[in-house]
Protein backbone atom coordinates (compact mmCIF):
# COMPACT_ATOMS: atom_id res chain seq x y z
CA UNK A 1 0.00 0.00 0.00
CA UNK A 2 1.63 3.23 -1.08
CA UNK A 3 1.44 6.24 1.14
CA UNK A 4 -0.70 9.16 -0.11
CA UNK A 5 1.43 11.88 -1.64
CA UNK A 6 1.16 15.29 -0.01
CA UNK A 7 0.71 18.42 -2.07
CA UNK A 8 0.81 21.89 -0.57
CA UNK A 9 -1.97 24.39 -1.22
CA UNK A 10 0.55 26.31 -3.35
CA UNK A 11 1.05 23.19 -5.49
CA UNK A 12 -2.69 22.81 -5.91
CA UNK A 13 -3.22 26.51 -6.70
CA UNK A 14 -0.44 26.33 -9.29
CA UNK A 15 -2.23 23.36 -10.87
CA UNK A 16 -5.59 25.12 -10.85
CA UNK A 17 -4.05 28.31 -12.25
CA UNK A 18 -2.42 26.40 -15.08
CA UNK A 19 1.04 27.28 -13.72
CA UNK A 20 2.12 23.79 -12.63
CA UNK A 21 4.62 22.02 -14.88
CA UNK A 22 3.61 18.85 -16.68
CA UNK A 23 5.17 16.56 -14.06
CA UNK A 24 3.38 18.16 -11.12
CA UNK A 25 0.10 18.23 -13.04
CA UNK A 26 0.41 14.55 -13.85
CA UNK A 27 1.28 13.68 -10.24
CA UNK A 28 -1.75 15.58 -8.95
CA UNK A 29 -4.13 14.07 -11.49
CA UNK A 30 -2.83 10.58 -10.77
CA UNK A 31 -3.07 11.09 -7.01
CA UNK A 32 -6.66 12.35 -7.12
CA UNK A 33 -7.84 8.99 -8.44
CA UNK A 34 -7.12 7.36 -5.09
CA UNK A 35 -7.38 10.32 -2.77
CA UNK A 36 -10.85 11.84 -2.21
CA UNK A 37 -9.44 14.30 0.34
CA UNK A 38 -7.09 15.71 -2.26
CA UNK A 39 -10.03 15.98 -4.63
CA UNK A 40 -12.01 17.97 -2.06
CA UNK A 41 -9.06 20.29 -1.43
CA UNK A 42 -8.73 20.96 -5.14
CA UNK A 43 -12.44 21.65 -5.46
CA UNK A 44 -12.35 24.05 -2.51
CA UNK A 45 -9.41 25.98 -3.97
CA UNK A 46 -10.78 26.20 -7.49
CA UNK A 47 -10.61 29.83 -8.61
CA UNK A 48 -13.54 29.61 -11.01
CA UNK A 49 -16.04 27.37 -9.25
CA UNK A 50 -17.80 30.10 -7.28
CA UNK A 51 -18.04 32.48 -10.25
CA UNK A 52 -19.46 29.82 -12.56
CA UNK A 53 -21.83 28.65 -9.86
CA UNK A 54 -23.11 32.16 -9.23
CA UNK A 55 -23.71 32.69 -12.93
CA UNK A 56 -25.66 29.48 -13.39
CA UNK A 57 -27.61 29.25 -10.15
CA UNK A 58 -29.54 32.26 -11.45
CA UNK A 59 -31.25 29.97 -13.97
CA UNK A 60 -33.75 28.52 -14.59
CA UNK A 61 -36.50 30.61 -13.07
CA UNK A 62 -39.46 29.01 -11.35
CA UNK A 63 -41.80 29.69 -14.28
CA UNK A 64 -39.58 27.63 -16.56
CA UNK A 65 -39.52 24.69 -14.15
CA UNK A 66 -43.26 24.89 -13.67
CA UNK A 67 -43.53 23.64 -17.25
CA UNK A 68 -42.28 20.24 -16.15
CA UNK A 69 -45.32 18.08 -15.56
CA UNK A 70 -45.28 14.76 -13.81
CA UNK A 71 -48.05 12.18 -13.76
CA UNK A 72 -50.02 12.01 -10.53
CA UNK A 73 -48.60 9.79 -7.81
CA UNK A 74 -51.59 7.41 -7.62
CA UNK A 75 -50.70 4.52 -9.83
CA UNK A 76 -52.76 1.70 -11.25
CA UNK A 77 -52.36 -1.54 -9.39
CA UNK A 78 -50.26 -3.49 -11.87
CA UNK A 79 -46.55 -2.95 -12.07
CA UNK A 80 -45.09 -1.18 -15.05
CA UNK A 81 -48.26 0.74 -15.71
CA UNK A 82 -46.32 3.97 -16.09
CA UNK A 83 -45.08 2.81 -19.43
CA UNK A 84 -48.11 4.01 -21.34
CA UNK A 85 -48.00 7.43 -19.76
CA UNK A 86 -44.29 7.76 -20.16
CA UNK A 87 -44.11 6.69 -23.75
CA UNK A 88 -46.97 8.94 -24.71
CA UNK A 89 -45.35 11.91 -23.09
CA UNK A 90 -41.67 11.25 -23.56
CA UNK A 91 -39.88 13.68 -25.80
CA UNK A 92 -43.09 15.36 -26.87
CA UNK A 93 -43.14 17.34 -23.63
CA UNK A 94 -46.37 18.05 -21.90
CA UNK A 95 -45.73 21.77 -21.97
CA UNK A 96 -48.87 23.51 -23.06
CA UNK A 97 -51.11 20.49 -22.63
CA UNK A 98 -51.90 21.74 -19.19
CA UNK A 99 -53.34 18.52 -17.87
CA UNK A 100 -51.35 18.83 -14.71
CA UNK A 101 -51.24 22.61 -14.70
CA UNK A 102 -51.25 24.25 -11.34
CA UNK A 103 -49.63 21.39 -9.49
CA UNK A 104 -46.84 22.51 -7.29
CA UNK A 105 -43.96 20.61 -8.80
CA UNK A 106 -41.30 23.26 -9.06
CA UNK A 107 -39.27 24.32 -6.07
CA UNK A 108 -38.79 28.01 -5.64
CA UNK A 109 -35.50 28.98 -7.24
CA UNK A 110 -33.61 31.82 -5.68
CA UNK A 111 -31.55 34.22 -7.73
CA UNK A 112 -28.41 32.56 -6.41
CA UNK A 113 -27.61 30.36 -3.44
CA UNK A 114 -25.89 32.44 -0.79
CA UNK A 115 -22.35 31.27 -0.53
CA UNK A 116 -22.65 30.41 3.17
CA UNK A 117 -25.00 27.60 2.28
CA UNK A 118 -22.71 26.30 -0.42
CA UNK A 119 -19.76 26.50 1.94
CA UNK A 120 -21.63 24.54 4.60
CA UNK A 121 -22.67 22.01 1.97
CA UNK A 122 -19.09 21.50 0.80
CA UNK A 123 -18.04 20.97 4.39
CA UNK A 124 -20.94 18.65 5.11
CA UNK A 125 -20.17 16.57 2.04
CA UNK A 126 -16.94 15.47 3.75
CA UNK A 127 -18.88 13.98 6.65
CA UNK A 128 -19.33 10.22 6.73
CA UNK A 129 -21.28 8.14 9.28
CA UNK A 130 -18.06 7.54 11.20
CA UNK A 131 -17.63 11.31 11.65
CA UNK A 132 -20.80 11.74 13.67
CA UNK A 133 -20.59 8.31 15.28
CA UNK A 134 -17.31 9.34 16.87
CA UNK A 135 -18.71 12.50 18.46
CA UNK A 136 -19.54 11.87 22.09
CA UNK A 137 -21.05 14.61 24.24
CA UNK A 138 -22.68 14.21 27.65
CA UNK A 139 -26.00 16.02 28.33
CA UNK A 140 -24.05 18.58 30.38
CA UNK A 141 -21.57 19.16 27.56
CA UNK A 142 -24.41 19.57 25.08
CA UNK A 143 -26.07 22.08 27.38
CA UNK A 144 -22.84 24.09 27.57
CA UNK A 145 -22.38 23.93 23.80
CA UNK A 146 -25.91 25.20 23.20
CA UNK A 147 -25.57 28.03 25.71
CA UNK A 148 -22.30 29.12 24.14
CA UNK A 149 -23.77 28.89 20.62
CA UNK A 150 -26.87 30.87 21.65
CA UNK A 151 -24.71 33.59 23.20
CA UNK A 152 -22.61 33.90 20.04
CA UNK A 153 -25.70 33.98 17.82
CA UNK A 154 -27.52 36.46 20.00
CA UNK A 155 -30.66 34.36 20.26
CA UNK A 156 -31.96 31.44 22.27
CA UNK A 157 -30.97 28.05 20.94
CA UNK A 158 -33.31 25.62 22.71
CA UNK A 159 -31.53 22.33 23.26
CA UNK A 160 -34.78 20.48 23.87
CA UNK A 161 -36.15 21.44 20.44
CA UNK A 162 -33.16 19.91 18.70
CA UNK A 163 -32.75 16.93 21.01
CA UNK A 164 -36.27 15.80 20.19
CA UNK A 165 -36.35 15.83 16.40
CA UNK A 166 -37.82 12.59 15.09
CA UNK A 167 -35.25 10.45 13.33
CA UNK A 168 -32.25 12.53 14.39
CA UNK A 169 -29.79 11.82 17.16
CA UNK A 170 -28.20 15.04 18.43
CA UNK A 171 -24.41 14.88 18.59
CA UNK A 172 -22.91 18.35 18.92
CA UNK A 173 -23.33 22.13 18.53
CA UNK A 174 -20.30 23.93 17.15
CA UNK A 175 -19.53 27.60 16.78
CA UNK A 176 -18.18 28.48 13.33
CA UNK A 177 -18.12 31.71 11.35
CA UNK A 178 -18.65 32.77 7.77
CA UNK A 179 -17.52 36.19 6.57
CA UNK A 180 -17.29 37.31 10.20
CA UNK A 181 -20.88 36.27 10.89
CA UNK A 182 -21.50 33.64 13.56
CA UNK A 183 -22.53 30.32 12.09
CA UNK A 184 -23.68 27.46 14.29
CA UNK A 185 -23.54 23.89 13.11
CA UNK A 186 -25.63 21.36 15.01
CA UNK A 187 -24.57 17.86 14.03
CA UNK A 188 -26.89 14.86 14.05
CA UNK A 189 -26.78 11.22 13.08
CA UNK A 190 -29.91 10.12 11.24
CA UNK A 191 -31.50 6.77 12.13
CA UNK A 192 -29.34 5.08 9.53
CA UNK A 193 -26.21 6.79 10.88
CA UNK A 194 -25.91 9.22 7.98
CA UNK A 195 -24.77 12.71 9.01
CA UNK A 196 -27.26 15.57 9.01
CA UNK A 197 -26.49 19.16 9.98
CA UNK A 198 -28.73 22.01 11.07
CA UNK A 199 -27.01 25.35 10.61
CA UNK A 200 -27.97 28.83 11.72
CA UNK A 201 -26.28 32.02 10.57
CA UNK A 202 -26.95 35.57 11.66
CA UNK A 203 -27.90 37.63 8.62
CA UNK A 204 -27.02 41.08 9.80
CA UNK A 205 -29.42 43.54 8.24
CA UNK A 206 -31.49 40.99 6.34
CA UNK A 207 -34.90 40.48 7.92
CA UNK A 208 -36.61 38.66 5.08
CA UNK A 209 -39.02 35.88 5.96
CA UNK A 210 -38.92 32.90 3.63
CA UNK A 211 -40.50 29.49 4.08
CA UNK A 212 -38.49 26.28 3.78
CA UNK A 213 -37.42 25.60 0.20
CA UNK A 214 -35.68 22.46 -0.96
CA UNK A 215 -32.41 22.49 -2.83
CA UNK A 216 -29.60 20.12 -3.73
CA UNK A 217 -26.19 21.38 -2.62
CA UNK A 218 -22.90 19.55 -3.07
CA UNK A 219 -24.98 16.51 -3.92
CA UNK A 220 -26.88 16.63 -0.63
CA UNK A 221 -30.58 17.28 -0.09
CA UNK A 222 -31.16 20.47 1.85
CA UNK A 223 -33.87 22.82 3.04
CA UNK A 224 -33.34 26.49 3.84
CA UNK A 225 -35.39 29.33 5.19
CA UNK A 226 -34.97 32.71 6.85
CA UNK A 227 -36.68 34.34 9.82
CA UNK A 228 -36.07 37.52 11.77
CA UNK A 229 -32.52 38.10 10.66
CA UNK A 230 -31.34 34.49 10.79
CA UNK A 231 -30.77 32.00 7.99
CA UNK A 232 -31.38 28.28 8.53
CA UNK A 233 -30.14 25.29 6.61
CA UNK A 234 -30.89 21.63 7.18
CA UNK A 235 -28.69 19.40 5.06
CA UNK A 236 -27.60 15.79 4.69
CA UNK A 237 -29.21 12.44 5.14
CA UNK A 238 -30.07 10.01 2.42
CA UNK A 239 -33.26 11.42 1.02
CA UNK A 240 -34.90 14.71 0.24
CA UNK A 241 -38.17 13.48 1.73
CA UNK A 242 -36.75 13.17 5.21
CA UNK A 243 -35.10 16.57 5.05
CA UNK A 244 -38.30 18.18 3.82
CA UNK A 245 -40.36 16.69 6.65
CA UNK A 246 -37.79 17.62 9.30
CA UNK A 247 -37.43 21.16 7.95
CA UNK A 248 -41.16 21.70 8.22
CA UNK A 249 -41.02 20.58 11.81
CA UNK A 250 -37.96 22.72 12.65
CA UNK A 251 -39.38 25.79 10.92
CA UNK A 252 -42.19 25.77 13.44
CA UNK A 253 -39.64 26.40 16.19
CA UNK A 254 -36.96 28.38 14.33
Amino acid sequence: MSQAMHFSDDNLRAYLDGQADADLSRLIEDAVEGDPDLEQRLMALDPFAAAVQEAFLAVPNAARLAKVDLPEAERPSSGGAWRGVAVAASLTLAVGLGFFAGRETAPVQEAAAPTWRQQVANYQSLYVPETVASIEASPEQLQTQFERAGAVLGRDLPLEALAGVDGLDLRRAQVLAFNDKPLIQVAFAADNGVPVAFCIIRLDGDDRHTDPAMDQLAGLPSAHWTRDGYGYLLIGGKGAEGIEAMSESLAQVF
Binding site: L70, A240, E241
Partner: protein, 176 residues
Protein backbone atom coordinates in the same frame (compact mmCIF):
# COMPACT_ATOMS: atom_id res chain seq x y z
CA UNK B 1 -45.72 -3.13 -2.69
CA UNK B 2 -45.12 -0.71 0.16
CA UNK B 3 -41.44 -0.73 -0.68
CA UNK B 4 -42.26 0.16 -4.27
CA UNK B 5 -44.46 3.04 -3.10
CA UNK B 6 -41.64 4.31 -0.89
CA UNK B 7 -39.22 4.12 -3.78
CA UNK B 8 -41.59 6.01 -6.03
CA UNK B 9 -42.00 8.69 -3.37
CA UNK B 10 -38.23 8.92 -3.01
CA UNK B 11 -37.81 9.33 -6.76
CA UNK B 12 -40.47 12.05 -6.84
CA UNK B 13 -38.77 13.87 -3.96
CA UNK B 14 -35.42 13.58 -5.72
CA UNK B 15 -36.93 15.00 -8.90
CA UNK B 16 -38.31 17.92 -6.93
CA UNK B 17 -34.99 18.86 -5.36
CA UNK B 18 -32.84 18.07 -8.38
CA UNK B 19 -35.05 19.80 -10.94
CA UNK B 20 -33.13 23.12 -11.18
CA UNK B 21 -29.79 21.31 -11.42
CA UNK B 22 -31.20 18.81 -13.87
CA UNK B 23 -32.37 21.62 -16.13
CA UNK B 24 -28.97 23.31 -15.93
CA UNK B 25 -27.26 20.04 -16.85
CA UNK B 26 -29.71 19.60 -19.72
CA UNK B 27 -28.87 23.13 -20.87
CA UNK B 28 -25.16 22.35 -20.67
CA UNK B 29 -25.68 19.37 -22.96
CA UNK B 30 -28.05 20.97 -25.44
CA UNK B 31 -27.15 24.68 -25.26
CA UNK B 32 -30.77 25.45 -26.07
CA UNK B 33 -33.32 26.30 -23.39
CA UNK B 34 -36.23 24.74 -25.26
CA UNK B 35 -34.33 21.51 -25.73
CA UNK B 36 -33.33 21.64 -22.06
CA UNK B 37 -37.05 21.81 -21.23
CA UNK B 38 -37.73 18.72 -23.35
CA UNK B 39 -34.76 16.86 -21.96
CA UNK B 40 -35.67 17.63 -18.36
CA UNK B 41 -39.25 16.54 -18.90
CA UNK B 42 -38.20 13.34 -20.63
CA UNK B 43 -35.71 12.57 -17.86
CA UNK B 44 -38.33 12.93 -15.13
CA UNK B 45 -40.80 10.71 -16.97
CA UNK B 46 -38.12 8.11 -17.67
CA UNK B 47 -37.14 8.10 -14.00
CA UNK B 48 -40.73 7.43 -12.96
CA UNK B 49 -40.92 4.67 -15.52
CA UNK B 50 -37.65 2.99 -14.62
CA UNK B 51 -37.17 3.30 -10.88
CA UNK B 52 -38.05 -0.37 -10.48
CA UNK B 53 -34.64 -1.25 -11.92
CA UNK B 54 -32.77 0.81 -9.34
CA UNK B 55 -30.23 -1.08 -7.27
CA UNK B 56 -28.72 1.77 -5.32
CA UNK B 57 -31.03 4.51 -4.06
CA UNK B 58 -28.47 6.61 -2.20
CA UNK B 59 -27.75 9.07 -5.01
CA UNK B 60 -30.96 9.52 -6.92
CA UNK B 61 -29.83 12.96 -8.09
CA UNK B 62 -26.81 11.45 -9.85
CA UNK B 63 -29.07 8.75 -11.28
CA UNK B 64 -31.32 11.46 -12.77
CA UNK B 65 -28.30 13.15 -14.32
CA UNK B 66 -27.22 9.85 -15.85
CA UNK B 67 -30.68 9.33 -17.37
CA UNK B 68 -30.56 12.87 -18.72
CA UNK B 69 -27.24 12.26 -20.42
CA UNK B 70 -28.40 8.96 -21.83
CA UNK B 71 -31.56 10.46 -23.35
CA UNK B 72 -29.53 13.33 -24.76
CA UNK B 73 -26.99 11.04 -26.41
CA UNK B 74 -29.39 8.42 -27.66
CA UNK B 75 -32.49 10.35 -28.58
CA UNK B 76 -32.04 14.09 -28.83
CA UNK B 77 -28.48 15.00 -29.66
CA UNK B 78 -28.37 14.16 -33.35
CA UNK B 79 -31.73 15.80 -34.01
CA UNK B 80 -30.78 18.95 -32.10
CA UNK B 81 -27.36 19.27 -33.68
CA UNK B 82 -28.93 18.87 -37.13
CA UNK B 83 -31.47 21.58 -36.41
CA UNK B 84 -28.83 23.88 -34.96
CA UNK B 85 -26.68 23.52 -38.04
CA UNK B 86 -29.59 24.50 -40.24
CA UNK B 87 -30.05 27.70 -38.26
CA UNK B 88 -27.10 29.71 -39.42
CA UNK B 89 -25.92 32.73 -37.46
CA UNK B 90 -27.77 31.70 -34.34
CA UNK B 91 -26.81 34.22 -31.62
CA UNK B 92 -25.04 33.01 -28.50
CA UNK B 93 -27.30 32.34 -25.54
CA UNK B 94 -27.14 35.14 -22.96
CA UNK B 95 -28.18 34.92 -19.35
CA UNK B 96 -30.57 37.80 -20.03
CA UNK B 97 -32.43 35.53 -22.46
CA UNK B 98 -33.31 33.31 -19.52
CA UNK B 99 -33.66 35.96 -16.88
CA UNK B 100 -35.09 39.04 -18.55
CA UNK B 101 -36.97 40.14 -15.45
CA UNK B 102 -34.00 40.56 -13.15
CA UNK B 103 -30.97 42.74 -13.02
CA UNK B 104 -28.04 40.61 -14.03
CA UNK B 105 -24.62 40.94 -12.52
CA UNK B 106 -22.41 41.88 -15.45
CA UNK B 107 -19.62 39.52 -14.41
CA UNK B 108 -22.00 36.62 -13.91
CA UNK B 109 -23.36 37.36 -17.38
CA UNK B 110 -19.85 37.33 -18.79
CA UNK B 111 -19.01 33.99 -17.16
CA UNK B 112 -22.34 32.52 -18.29
CA UNK B 113 -21.67 33.44 -21.91
CA UNK B 114 -18.12 32.10 -21.75
CA UNK B 115 -19.21 28.76 -20.32
CA UNK B 116 -22.01 28.40 -22.83
CA UNK B 117 -19.51 28.98 -25.63
CA UNK B 118 -17.41 25.99 -24.53
CA UNK B 119 -17.67 22.65 -26.33
CA UNK B 120 -20.33 20.29 -24.97
CA UNK B 121 -17.98 17.98 -23.05
CA UNK B 122 -16.31 20.85 -21.23
CA UNK B 123 -19.61 22.60 -20.53
CA UNK B 124 -21.10 19.49 -19.00
CA UNK B 125 -18.07 18.88 -16.76
CA UNK B 126 -18.07 22.53 -15.62
CA UNK B 127 -21.76 22.49 -14.77
CA UNK B 128 -21.62 19.21 -12.86
CA UNK B 129 -18.55 20.12 -10.80
CA UNK B 130 -18.58 23.91 -10.47
CA UNK B 131 -22.30 24.50 -10.32
CA UNK B 132 -23.89 21.31 -9.01
CA UNK B 133 -21.02 20.45 -6.67
CA UNK B 134 -20.38 16.91 -7.85
CA UNK B 135 -16.91 15.59 -7.14
CA UNK B 136 -14.65 14.78 -10.05
CA UNK B 137 -15.32 11.07 -9.64
CA UNK B 138 -19.08 11.57 -9.46
CA UNK B 139 -18.99 13.69 -12.60
CA UNK B 140 -16.84 11.01 -14.23
CA UNK B 141 -19.50 8.39 -13.40
CA UNK B 142 -22.33 10.54 -14.74
CA UNK B 143 -20.49 11.34 -17.97
CA UNK B 144 -19.03 7.82 -18.22
CA UNK B 145 -15.42 8.93 -18.63
CA UNK B 146 -12.30 8.44 -16.48
CA UNK B 147 -11.73 10.89 -13.63
CA UNK B 148 -8.58 12.12 -15.37
CA UNK B 149 -10.69 13.17 -18.33
CA UNK B 150 -12.88 15.29 -16.08
CA UNK B 151 -9.80 16.95 -14.56
CA UNK B 152 -8.34 17.58 -17.96
CA UNK B 153 -11.61 19.06 -19.24
CA UNK B 154 -11.83 21.33 -16.21
CA UNK B 155 -8.22 22.47 -16.74
CA UNK B 156 -9.18 23.48 -20.25
CA UNK B 157 -12.29 25.24 -18.97
CA UNK B 158 -10.21 27.23 -16.49
CA UNK B 159 -7.69 28.17 -19.17
CA UNK B 160 -10.44 29.39 -21.48
CA UNK B 161 -12.19 31.32 -18.74
CA UNK B 162 -8.88 32.87 -17.77
CA UNK B 163 -8.42 34.07 -21.34
CA UNK B 164 -11.97 35.06 -21.95
CA UNK B 165 -13.22 36.75 -18.81
CA UNK B 166 -12.18 39.99 -17.20
CA UNK B 167 -9.89 40.15 -14.18
CA UNK B 168 -12.82 41.28 -12.09
CA UNK B 169 -14.85 38.20 -12.97
CA UNK B 170 -11.89 36.03 -12.06
CA UNK B 171 -11.29 37.74 -8.77
CA UNK B 172 -15.03 37.44 -8.13
CA UNK B 173 -14.51 33.72 -8.42
CA UNK B 174 -12.03 33.78 -5.59
CA UNK B 175 -14.21 35.76 -3.25
CA UNK B 176 -16.17 32.83 -1.86
Amino acid sequence: MREEKNLEAAVRAAIKTTLPGLWRFALSLSRQPDVADDLTQATCLRALERYGTLRDTTRLDAWLMTICRSIWLNELRSRTVRQTMSLSEQPDLQISDLKPDAETNIFAAEVFTQVMALPEAQRAAAILVFVEGYSYREAADILDVPIGTIMSRLSTVRAKLREGTSDVAQSGGRDI
